[in-house]
Symmetry: C2
Subunit: 380 residues, 2 copies
Amino acid sequence: MKNFVFQNPTRLVFGRGQIAKLASLIPSDARLMITFGGGSVKKNGVYEQVVEALKGREWEEFWGIEPNPSIETLKKAIAIGKEKKIDFLLAVGGGSTIDGTKLIAAGIKYDGDAWELVKRGAYKDTVPLATVLTLPATGSEMNSGAVISRYETREKYAFYSRYPVFSILDPEVTYSLPEHQVACGLADTFVHVMEQYMTTTSQSRVMDRWAEGLLSTVMEIAPLIKQDKCNYDLMADFMLSATMGLNGYVAMGVTEDWATHMIGHELTALHRITHGETLAIVFPGMLRVLREQKKGKILQYAHRVLGINEGSENEVIDEAIRRTEDFFRSLGLTTRLSENNIGEDTICEIERRFTERGAAYGEAGNVDGKLAAKILRSCM
Amino acid sequence: MKNFVFQNPTRLVFGRGQIAKLASLIPSDARLMITFGGGSVKKNGVYEQVVEALKGREWEEFWGIEPNPSIETLKKAIAIGKEKKIDFLLAVGGGSTIDGTKLIAAGIKYDGDAWELVKRGAYKDTVPLATVLTLPATGSEMNSGAVISRYETREKYAFYSRYPVFSILDPEVTYSLPEHQVACGLADTFVHVMEQYMTTTSQSRVMDRWAEGLLSTVMEIAPLIKQDKCNYDLMADFMLSATMGLNGYVAMGVTEDWATHMIGHELTALHRITHGETLAIVFPGMLRVLREQKKGKILQYAHRVLGINEGSENEVIDEAIRRTEDFFRSLGLTTRLSENNIGEDTICEIERRFTERGAAYGEAGNVDGKLAAKILRSCM
């Protein structure tokens, strides 16, 4: 096991009816701004619950944080936040709303251009923020990370600030999610765990088993949710898996990968493909191209998660990769670039970008522009 | 899944050489008291490492917090802490030292008799405390609980205060532990997880799998540690399992039991038997007596953790209980009261105490004096 320092102070408030606790969780004298995405919370009753919970309080509202939140939009919120001297932020929405709000929380306290913070990669001096999660997927409700886009230049980068003070997770608010968003959330959760697991063997028995527990759970609940997405226990399992999948709990003392995400972010930046969809395309390609390097862990995954116990090592690996791609397809996601009309031009542009920034991703630091292109070509 | 609120703010600082970070982790102007157990840290080099790390600082030392820390001893530390206006506590030791220091941290801030705090069960206004863990077992390094004894009246109760600010876990400091302490630590870890798992089925797929991951890990590493207790990776797995086994990470949204612990505490209070040993005796008895009530979960445990896949339900349950008791015996622990010269007198006294306090422990709230006596009789 590698040395590590770990701390995650976010308070999880999980379950039915928990949005009603908002007033007791937000300081009564807070100068509050509530941030939202495109407005689905007005249709599914979440907005109403928030307003009801905060009756008697005053707050600013900022609407319109888009999927893959853009610096362009967030700067508007930062300007309002500064003007109104906002000192507490509540993000009500999915990962994009929460991610965007993390940058707003930092931007309010920063004198310069907020894009500088994104390029810097981290900024810890922020206004406190909390969340009401509506879409299980990114884990942003219990981690310090965010991913911010700049549409003008088609760039997308990770940014780290502070953990949410609290996050309210009520599985009932997920009942109204479109099937495609549920599919992307399941894929996102699955690949988050994989990025922390599918590296080298024998680093930590506990972390391996906890990651496998999340992978098994996601694979088990996915077809059941398809049949019954208003099942409380299923959506609770989904919501908890998504949060636990990227809050550091399965990353203690182990090497991580994240190359799939880095390539996926480029596909989103260039083509606006939903994050979860990019992962469903890239991750099987990562396994195909790095099957030798990741052999030990693929075999462990095949055995423990997929229950493949027969065949030669090569056959088991083939079968594990095939079943992983099948899993994404079973969610209704595409797994090939050609299905999205993406071809050699994009591959060359991503190779160029990776090479330009001296990319060296993955647990072995060997996913550079050339290898990224090879992985993408295996996904045609 | 049940509604839950979860937060665990402790910073884990894990790995080789991490004690050297102490100076950067403790505020430089802290009026520090360092608390210790019986002195083993002077033999295994831990005391030296702490002194070296804090060179140039001043601190008080309090020595002699005993296994099953007593209110009698802790009151002395509280008096010194008040007198010296201590405002930061560092516990260097195992679970008993840490548990005791949690009461000291509360007692320093409390005007009355510290035993009142124990009887009250919780007190959150404390001096901040941190730990350097030397014995993986209780999980106290990453939770808010403590168990405090009063020798005079042979009482032992749980007490809740605040989480440690940070805990340093260096697996190398465990190499010098006596085999019996390692055995008790493994048993303690195993039963902690069981108390959060061996209740009812189908509450949370993630929590079930994470608990099973810890149980499997403990059962896998126990015989390996016996052969090679200076193996870094094995002791790191043990240390991480013990901490993760009682920090709330496997208890989210599920019912818990703790009846084994409540009965075990009485055996310790009455006979000074090491905590881990009491659990090895009581837990198999709990399964024997409550096999019908816990049937679904015993079958799941048999299948997923023990790999028992053949036989009738009754045969599988018999085999699972037998193997659980065998596991404790393989650690070198006794599993029967008669082996400890404990008989009907003690059973009657525990029944009397449970009845007197209206005990209703376990996930079904049915472990009262009478049922506790039945469980203990099955452990003769």
